[in-house]
Symmetry: C2
């Protein structure tokens, strides 16, 4: 199989996590990069969204992923942040589509299930699973970057064939 | 005073309403244009957001408003549409900021209050007030375009000086 590059995105207004992973063989992955896009409170909502899009476009141009996998907002865990996080998510999805990239969406529960086998696994267990699957000696920091890598690995695993081909 | 041009935006995923108004003198307005940006259900979320941004950029280039006034999402009237509408709103705000335009945000209640003097005025009364303030012989259709004009007029009225200058 050819290498599939995935850009995982954990959306937010103050911090957007990103993680780039190459799927090099069946359930075998290579860590490429990860980090965060940051904006400041005093910049105003529209300006922060403009910064997020600008940095997202830079990421897309630099890494040219095959797919952009974005965490979906499924549970009303925090009603106060639901609108601003959704606004950032809209900008990130739009930037990917306008630039011609495929997008995929996964719920937090799907990501946990996919990486650990448990839909309600705790954060540190998910982070350890990410590090293990990417053959990293330590957990990726900050959390938003690790979360974004989890989404990328989730996409890679979700697209595994249901049955291994007979050889 | 110089003419102030305002682009009012009523965000949505399937339909974004827009309305352009010139404030030509103290509490005197001129209707310039209005309409809707439409996307189709079968286009997928990211693609629909890309279309909304593309058409928003076209509107900004054509009308070059001084301010873009966008309705804010304040009440959880419909939890199901809150995420997609916020995503579209994020794209619209970002497009305005990236293109160098000022943005302003008003809640539905502020818009109603501003146009009718009542924060809970019904839809048809708001539509009639919009038509009256813009010296139009009939109510603007569709509703999303009329709502967008209401937001534009609201911005124009909110920026009235508190006291008329002594002459």
């Amino acid at each position: 199989m050819s290498v599939q590059r995935i850009l995982g995105i954990d959306p937010g207004t103050a911090t957007v996590g990103f993680g780039i992973v190459d799927k090099i063989a069946q359930d075998s992955y290579r860590y490429i990069s990860s980090g965060i896009i940051q904006t400041k409170k005093d910049q105003g909502a529209a300006q922060r969204l403009a910064i997020i899009r600008r940095d997202m476009i830079t990421l897309l141009e630099e890494y040219q992923p095959e797919v952009v996998a974005v965490e979906s907002i499924f549970f009303f865990k925090n009603a106060k942040t639901l609108v601003p996080v959704s606004q950032a998510r809209g900008v990130l999805l739009e930037a990917a589509a306008t630039s011609g990239y495929l997008t995929a969406e996964y719920t937090p529960m799907q990501v946990k299930m996919c990486l650990t086998g448990h839909g309600r696994a705790d954060k540190s267990f998910v982070q350890e699973s990410v590090a293990k699957l990417l053959n990293l000696s330590q957990i990726i920091k900050p959390d938003d970057a690790s979360d974004a890598l989890a989404i990328a690995v989730c996409h890679a695993r979700m697209t595994l064939p249901a049955y291994a081909p007979a050889t």
